[in-house]
Amino acid sequence: MTARIAIISFPGSNCEYDVAEALGALGAECTIVFHDATELGGVDGVVIPGGFAHGDYLRCGAIARFSPIMSAVTDFANAGGAVLGICNGFQVLTEAGLLPGALQRNAGLRFLCEPAVLEVASSNSNLTAKCARGDRVVLPINHGEGNYYCDAATLAELEENDQVVLRYLHNPNGSVSNIAGVSNRRGNVVGLMPHPERAAAALATSTDGRVLLDSFLSWALTNAASPTMIGA
């Protein structure tokens, strides 16, 4: 079966075609859905790609979360559909309240563009269902505001519910508890700062992103959003 994936494009998104290319190579059928659309159109999963949505004005993701399409994404997520936010997409999901915490300026104040070694901290998410806890993957990071923050109570909750998905082996940006990616409680909404779609082609220095994206596609196909809940 072919997974149908909507990739959301805001003004300033710049990774939507990279994601489409990487998911397409894994057999998915991708549609770019613009920010001003109001419907996702019967898809199995949604990806919010990286970039600088609305210029990252005010805060990264702060304006994008009020785009018309975000109501449909929120309904889809609440109905259990597979949603993945990469980099700027992760920031949009935290601003939208679909994931806990927030992303702030890197601790070293520098924009980081380098490979990062990550450890899978949980396999209870759409992104890591095909991985085992402790697996290591190398993915590029490319961000100025990837410093994940949540308070101590939220962190305890994340750990108790197995919501920390990926951790940096060497913390590049000051993130609390070395967190590179988190999920919601059900594991159907995941956000991460590293870019799996840039580690999917043979030309890239790593192809470790494939197992993650493949996991996302399989998860999306087997955990369809419950239509009765959409729009409820």
Binding site: A62, L109, Y149
Partner: protein, 84 residues
């Protein structure tokens, strides 16, 4: 009535402020060793039409909660001034 609104936004306590720390070190290296607790935030100003100052403040508070600040990492202070 016409009001001038100033919203000052800063990190909540406990959230690292690397920019503030860097400025503090720079001040120290310039000989301003007496400066401490340097924090960087942002200021948003706008004009607002409202019935009275209480309504203006309540409206600005809603704006902060929904858009202007992210309560996970930021706190805000609102100043309401009647336009002369």
């Amino acid at each position: 009535m016409n009001f001038d609104i100033t919203v000052e936004i800063r990190g909540v306590d406990g959230v690292a402020d690397p920019e503030g720390r860097t400025i503090e070190r720079a001040l120290g290296s310039l000989g301003f060793g007496g400066a401490s607790q340097v924090h960087v935030g942002k200021t948003i100003t706008f004009a607002l039409v409202a019935d009275d100052a209480t309504v203006a403040k309540a409206t600005a508070t809603q704006m902060c909660e929904r858009l202007l600040a992210n309560p996970v990492i930021e706190r805000y202070e609102i100043t309401v001034t009647l336009r002369p």
